[in-house]
Amino acid sequence: MRSMQFSMPKACAALCLVLSAFSGSLAEPILGDQQAAGVRALLPPRDVQAMDTPRDGGLSLTIRWQPPSGEEAGLLGYRIYRADSPNWEFRLVGQVDRNTMEYQNIPNDSIKVQMGKEYYYKVAAYDSLGEAMSEAVGPVKSRPTWFDIHRLPILVAIVLFFGSVLVFFRITKRGKGLFIRRIAGIAAMEEAVGRATELGRPVLYVPGIMDVDNIQTIASMVILVDVAKLAAQYDVPIIVPLNRAFVVPMAEESVRQGFLNAGRPDSYDPDNVRYLSDEQFAFTAGVNGIMVREKTAAHFFLGAFFAESLILSEMGFSTGAIQIAGTANIHQLPFFVVACDYTLIGEEFYAATAYISKDPQLLGPLKGADFMKVVIMALLVVGSLLELFGVHWLTGLLTLS
């Protein structure tokens, strides 16, 4: 039964092709044959229009039509024909079912559209006996679009954001607007390293499990410089286990830089930056081993974490270490919040670098993001009030298509 349904349309199409071939030409309407056979005539589609497909790359045309007037119970669908001139032979481009009133002549069709060339189209309604062809419409030619106006809001948002970042660069460089509110997790970093020093045990820094093309890993590398500096100042070892080979040179560089910034480049021990394994759980097991065997006393989990977040922080808790976590992977935040002493939530994690270093290069983007938040809050207030009074233009402005 199933296979019947699948093959029905094909059988009909084949039948139509045979019939139309019999009548002489693929393109000729065979109205006459039907009338001669005494069958009620199938009418052609109405209001056929051919146009350049809007907002496209310039290789497609769109054909639209209305169903034939009157009751068309036997109508199976429509066929679309094309020719370079209204008097030339029209060739079949494609066909659609009876419920579709639009066809796009796209690059995937066997008969493709060339940019800038003129074409004429006809649309035929067909049933099991034959087809009724519309008049030719055209000429129509396709043009490429150079800017998709519907995507303007995205461009505005990016330009606004990046523009504000650049403006705040200039302001912060002049030493103004440097204030950042206290972020508990970051303020506690020194406390954690200090605690490790008191106990005479190492610090552990895990920069997540993603590669260097992940933005969180990169942010984590910048924070690592500062944590390594703290460790160097307090003279405790810092162990950095890694699960991506590419991150190794970056992490080595960051730790070395941190020791250099603290004025103790000679204390840097390259053996403490360790590649463990690319495999998520093998890596997790390796880090667990370090926590248990080397009795690390301060744990930093800063970067992109996944399911291992809970195992690491649970294990870390059982060793009695003070733990600070930070990630923008929202799905893992609950576990860090529950199992760690401090957690940097989402954007706080990105803000950490700027907070610690007060470097204008890092403060600029942070202040730019704050500016965007003000814009969003204003949008929310205005938008929700406008919507309340049934005014939708702001929502419309932000809608892409």
């Binding site: 809001p153 995205i154 948002a157 990016i158 607007g177 204030f179 950042i180 509110r181 206290r182 972020i183 260097v212 093309d213 933005i215 080979a245 590419f246 394994s277 690319d278 495999e279 759980f281 093998a282 097991a285 081993g289 248990v292 929202i330 799905h331 935040l333 609950p334 576990f335 919040v337 529950v338 939530i345 989402g346 954007e347 706080e348 803000a351 907070y355 942070l366 202040k367 704050d370 938040k373 003000v374 969003i376 809050m377 949008l379 929310l380 207030v381 938008g383 929700s384 009030l385 406008l386 919507e387 309340l388 702001l394 929502t395 932000l398 809608t399 892409l400």
Partner: protein, 217 residues
């Protein structure tokens, strides 16, 4: 033969579970076996699904000579192992980082920033929900009525929490506190919801051991 392989699978399963009691050689064996298998598997799949169809076949068939560029960049990756020319691998990394950073700027702006803000522009009070609450006062009609104000006001409170240029003090600080509370509710919900995922995984393994392997059920 089937039973033998099932037993191997079951032994591997039990070896990994044994870690929960404490670290032991069986677990270590299973863990290292797993690393090897997983890594080997990826190489095979990359070869048949990416390297052959996307690079080697079109290149050798002569249908796309541009592919010589990614081939060279791919080989550059391996210069990491030779410190004298290791800098060449930066070129390959630059392609990856450039492409993904560019894509990310668009992806986050459209998917998260713009669409999420737009979806939050709801009428502060939904008249429909208000009518329902008036006609049928109850917990759930009240909660439905609260959805919109909570969305707008709660959203602003959390944004205030994430605003870094002002200290959390006074009324402003209280708003940020409300924001933190909402975040905590979200985290609690996240934790509670995730329990299901973890339990499902465990159930699956127990089912495998008791049913597929031992046919106890």
């Amino acid at each position: 033969m089937d039973f033998l392989w099932l037993t191997i699978a079951a032994a591997a399963t039990l070896a990994i579970f044994s870690f929960l009691y404490k670290d032991n050689p069986f677990y270590k064996f299973a863990e290292h076996l797993f690393v090897g298998i997983a890594s080997g598997y990826v190489v095979v799949i990359e070869y048949y699904n990416v390297f052959r169809p996307n690079l080697w076949d079109p290149l050798t068939a002569g249908s796309d000579f541009w592919l010589i560029i990614p081939l060279i960049l791919g080989i550059f990756m391996f210069t990491r192992f030779f410190s004298r020319i290791a800098w060449l691998s930066r070129w390959s990394m630059a392609v990856i980082i450039g492409t993904y950073s560019g894509l990310a700027v668009i992806g986050f702006t459209e998917g998260d920033l713009l669409n999420q803000v737009r979806a939050s522009l709801v009428p502060l009070i939904s008249t429909e929900a208000a009518k329902k609450l008036a006609s049928d006062p109850g917990l759930f009609t009240f909660l439905d009525f609260m959805s919109n104000p909570l969305l707008v006001i709660g959203f602003i409170c959390i944004l205030i929490y994430f605003f870094f240029s002002k200290e959390h003090q006074g009324t402003y600080g209280s708003l940020a506190k409300i924001g933190t509370g909402l975040l905590m509710i979200g985290f609690g919900a996240g934790y509670g919801y995730t329990v299901m995922t973890r339990m499902a995984l465990l159930f699956d393994r127990l089912f495998f051991l008791c049913s597929d392997w031992l046919h106890l059920i």
